[in-house]
Each structure stands twice: as structure tokens, then as C-alpha cells.
Symmetry: C2
Subunit: 339 residues, 2 copies
DNA sequence: CTGTTAGCGCGTTCAG
DNA sequence: CTGAACGCGCTAACAG
């Protein structure tokens, strides 16, 4: 069906080796070059990457595995990253692990089978099953957003503790003492780090550990944030402010607050990620915003660098800073205790 | 680096053909089966899909091209679809065309090079450049969300005219006469259909074509929706209600309304897609909701069906119905003219 | 059920 | 600069 070098040879009389050289940027005499170009058009020829990859052992393709396709945070990163990679001549295969470690392992398996030259992964948990297989085949791996235990891979993360601390700082400055935290299980790197950052920050300010934090069980979801906020508000003493440790929780908490707004005083709130939220929701919320574009660029650099390097590199770790985008004062103001 | 059949043969003494048969579900005598399994574990062997695909001319992989990675509507569909396809034994390669017809053509080129068995595409415009190449290679194509002109491909869309009509019906019943529309350029299938549906519905109700509609130029974005709403409200007579023809416009319009709410009477509004919005925004908006799960399932069925079919099938078109999820009456109530 | 043989489409030696 | 020959890892025919 599809045309091959042989078809081009048939039309041009030029040998396979010369045709190959043409398609790989080698020096080909002008006359042959024109012939090949003509035949390529006539046949609608397109190089078969599969055969090329099999032979050359380089697919010029990178794999990306993300924990959740349906997450603006991840898709924004991937969108920027894919652009960088394409500029460098690499195609990108995107796989969704749907928050499942098993699906994640399958995805890595799939990508290795496709002979990708490298893998960028936003891991589900603290351990990634397929990592050993990738290492055995010399396929470099970069993790993004979450670090991995005991693995010799490059990593791009933000300073999660500082990120949460900036949120706590704002709330304490506004007069809050009883601050709640909506965070997921410690098994997730970002959740663990953010919870630790929260404890540190509260202790630094008040001289003691926070009276209440609330850890929401799996799955980390909008629904979880919704329920979590309701439970937080049922505590005694009732928190006057709540920090949401990720985007989903921020959305869920916002929904819950919307429902409660009519009946009860609502807590101050600081959320996470996705600046669009700040424009949709009124009053405008305060958000910890991660530098998605930078994350993407640095991840692309790391993986390309590692592929290009002729010798093994030491694992590298890039830590970026987040930004606190302050919203309407009404959303974080202290209105007095409520217990 | 990576182990091959030859390595397994070396460890087991079993011939390549038998090993191949083992990995392809054929009947292999128990003794050999055990030997192969042992060697597979010892070597960390994994089948090389590239070589397999080259030889068998079936990659067991499908390509998905979407117009915008950063769109919940698309990613939700893909997420469901990928699950269906995986159940059928197919891997999925996701590519982002970032709303560019050129990038879309590149993506199709890329997928063909990877020898995918089929392509599901959410097209950018009315014509898709790579379609001929796919057809020439016998790679079946299914378009989703948007139909394509003059192409023998399967299609899954919703009844866009009925969708918009349901929104208009609600607003007219509530007493609105001057209804504005926020829609993108006619070059986009969904935008064109929804605008036509809007005109039909208004005419049916009022006996005349709508006095005002507003077509927002490229790009179809949140920013566009924001500006579009502001311009709509500057018209005379001022529309008392606005229908947003897609998700981005709905978000942008909501932002604009939030800003205006303090100074001026806000128009009634009906939005599109993404039920999450309905939970975040207060008062709860009315939304035209597309059956994303169904869209995904039908698209998967069409492409799998076509791959499996031993003979060429006629192009098929699936049209699904949307649902109007009615929100808080305050968001669509008629409060009297404002001119 | 097993083994041998011959490619899939391409890139890379070499000799010319 | 060009062409012939070989092999990447695997599957599909056969014959046994």
C-alpha cells in the first residue's frame, strides 16, 4: 500500500543507499536529488518511522505519561513541553495513567515497546513500576511535579513547602490562628510536602503545631475537596481559614462554600493552581500558582540533554518557585472567632 | 541492550518461531512454555512493538489528534475512549494540534509514520490536510465533534442545532426577545451549526430573525468570550440574554459578567459544556451539556469496527443529543427591557 | 506442535 | 558520491 524506497528506485533508477542518504540529510548529487523529490511527490511517499527506528535504534519520539489527562495543570505543562520537543525534532506520545499505578506501568511498557528515546512522567505515587525496565534499556526518565523515591532520574518540582508557607503567611498576617488544611494522602509526594510545609509554617508563626489539619483519603478529587471542607467546618474550634493543597480540592471546597454561604459564615480560603479560577469565581480567590511554562521548559531541557549526552549523567533536580496570587481581601480576611 | 528472541533461544534452546507463537497466544507445549516464561523474567524481556509492527503491518495502536489539549471537553472524551480502546487491546497515541491546521497535518504525518491502525481526530477546521495520506495507506479515520467536508470518514457529532435551540427555548419561555449569541467563526463546523440553529430557533419563536448576534473572530478563547460579551452589551437594543456557543465563551462571558455585576444589570446567560462549571459558579448557570461518555464510546466503536471489517464500509455518521441542564432561575429570568 | 527460511522497510558498512 | 550486501527484531509461510 504505502510506497517504499523500492518504489522510488523503480521510478528513478537511483539505488536504495542514495535514497536513504537523501532522506537523512546526506550529500546527494543534484540530478538524483531532483529525481527523488519528484518520485516522492508522485508516490505520496512518507518515510516509515517504524522501520527507521528499528534499524537506527532511535525513534526520535519521546513518551509522556501523566497521572490525569483531565487536569489543566498537567495538560498545560504538556502543551508547552510538546512544543519545545517538536522544535528539537522529537515527536511526542502522550499516555494517560488515570491515577492508577497499574495503568502507569502499562503506559511505560507501551512506550518502551514503541522504542521511545526518553520518558517524561508525572508519577501517580512514590514508586513507579516500569522504571527499572526503562533503565535497563537505557531510556532516560524525567519526573515532573512529583519526585520519586530511590530512583536515579531527573526531576522537576516546585518548592512545595515554600508554596504552602506563602499561603499560611498571608492568612496569619490577616489574623487567622485556626487554619485548616485540605490535603491528600501522604503517599503522594506533593501532598506530603505540602502538609509538612503547612505544619512548619504554622509552627513558625504560632509557636505550636496546628491544632487541626485534615487529610482527605483517596481519591484526590473535587468530591473529596467538597466533603473535606464540610468536615473541617464541623470541627471545634472551627477553623477560620482553610488552605487547599491542590486544584481539585480548591474546586471542591469552592463548591461547598457556595452551598454554605447562605446559611453560615464561610471560612477564608487559599487555593492552588489554575489561574482561570481566579477570574471565574467571585469574590476573586487567592491562589498558589505554579510556573507551568517554566516547569515544561526545564523538563524538556533535562530529557533532551540526557538523550544527547554520550555518557551517563548524575541525577539532577530542578526546584522552581511558585507565586502567591492574592485575590479579593474578603476571601482571606479574619472576621473573628466563631466557636 | 534490550533482550530479543535470540536471547531467549540462547537460554532455552527453543526456536524463534515457537517463541513468537508463545508471545502471540498460540499453542505451545507446556515444557517450552515454562522455559520461555522463565527466560522472559530473567532477561526482563519485553516484545519490541516496533519490529512486530513492521513485520505484521499491524501496530495495535490508534492515534488520536485533538484540536486543544487544554480543553476539558476533549480530554474527557479521550479519557473514556482510551479506556474502551485499551479493553480492545489497542494502545493510544495522543497528539495535540493546538488549534493549528498545520500542526494537525504534522500530527497525522507522525501517526502514519508510526503505522497506527486508525486515527480518531477532532479536527481544527473544515478540511484536514493529512486525510488523503491516511486514505492512501488504508488507515481508517473517524472525526469527532466536528464533521469534515467531502471526506469519506466516519463521524460522531451532536445535534448542534437542537442543542442551541433548547437554550433559546428556555430563554424565550422566560420572556426574552432580544437574545444575543456568542459564537466563533463559521469556518468551524460546530460554530457554524450552532449559529444556524440559533437563527432557526429565534425565527421560529419570534417570527423574525434575531436582531443581533455576535460573531467573535479567531481565536475561540476565554479572552474572546470576555470581549464578546462586553461588546454585546454595548448594542442597542441591549440583549437581555446571551447564549454562549462553547465552553471557552461561557467562561469568558462569566468573567465579564462578574466584573459588570456591580455596576450594571447583567444579562441572562446560557452556557455550554463542562458540568463542573455549574457547581463552581453561583448562581448556578444553565448549560447545554454534551454526552461526552457516549461520544467516546461511539467513536471507539466506529474505528474498531472499521479496522475489523474485511471490506470497505460506507461512511457512517452518528448524531447524538445534548441535554439542557437548567440552573438557578435567576440566571435566565427576564427582568424587563433595558434599552 | 516445532523448526527452518524468507522477508517487512530502512540504515549502514564497505568497495568502487 | 554511489551501489551491493547485510541485518535491526519479529512474523508468516512452509515442511517436518
Amino acid at each position: 500500500m504505502a510506497a517504499t524506497y523500492k518504489d522510488i528506485r523503480r521510478l528513478t533508477g537511483v539505488s536504495l543507499a542514495t535514497i536513504s542518504k537523501y532522506f537523512n540529510g546526506g550529500n546527494v548529487i543534484h540530478n538524483n536529488r531532483v529525481l527523488i523529490e519528484q518520485a516522492t511527490r508522485d508516490l505520496g511517499y512518507q518515510v516509515n518511522d517504524v522501520a527507521r527506528g528499528l534499524r537506527s535504534r532511535r525513534s526520535m519520539t519521546l513518551g509522556v505519561v501523566l497521572a490525569e489527562l483531565n487536569s489543566t495543570f498537567y495538560t498545560t505543562i504538556i502543551s508547552s513541553m510538546e512544543e519545545k520537543l517538536r522544535e528539537a525534532g522529537y515527536g511526542t506520545i502522550i499516555c494517560d495513567s488515570r491515577g492508577s499505578a497499574e495503568a502507569e506501568a502499562e503506559a511505560i511498557h507501551f512506550l518502551i515497546g514503541k522504542m521511545v528515546d526518553g520518558i517524561v512522567i508525572m508519577p501517580v505515587g512514590d514508586e513507579v513500576a516500569g522504571l527499572a525496565a526503562a533503565a535497563a534499556r537505557g531510556v532516560p526518565v524525567v519526573t515532573v511535579d512529583r519526585a520519586i523515591a530511590n530512583a536515579a532520574v531527573d526531576t522537576v518540582v516546585i518548592d512545595n513547602r515554600a508554596a504552602i508557607a506563602s499561603a499560611v503567611d498571608l492568612l496569619v498576617d490577616a489574623g487567622h490562628i485556626d487554619i485548616g488544611l485540605l490535603a491528600g494522602p501522604d503517599a503522594i509526594f506533593t501532598m506530603r510536602e505540602r502538609r509538612l510545609g503547612f505544619r512548619e509554617a504554622v509552627k513558625r508563626h504560632t509557636g505550636r503545631l496546628p491544632r487541626r489539619t485534615f487529610t482527605q483519603p483517596d481519591p484526590v478529587s473535587v468530591q473529596g475537596g467538597y466533603q473535606g471542607l464540610r468536615r473541617l467546618l464541623a470541627l471545634e474550634p472551627r477553623p477560620t481559614a482553610v488552605v487547599c493543597a491542590n486544584y481539585e480540592f480548591t474546586v471542591g471546597a469552592t463548591v461547598a462554600i457556595n452551598e454554605l454561604a447562605a446559611d453560615a459564615p464561610v471560612p477564608a480560603i487559599v487555593g492552588f493552581d489554575n489561574l482561570d479560577l481566579a477570574r471565574i469565581i467571585r469574590p476573586r480567590p487567592t491562589l498558589v500558582v505554579q510556573p507551568v511554562a517554566q516547569i515544561a521548559v526545564r523538563a524538556a531541557e533535562l530529557i533532551l540533554d540526557r538523550i544527547a549526552s554520550p555518557f551517563p549523567l548524575e541525577p539532577r533536580s530542578v526546584v522552581l518557585e511558585s507565586e502567591l496570587v492574592v485575590g479579593d481581601p474578603a476571601t482571606y480576611a479574619f472576621r473573628g472567632g466563631q466557636s
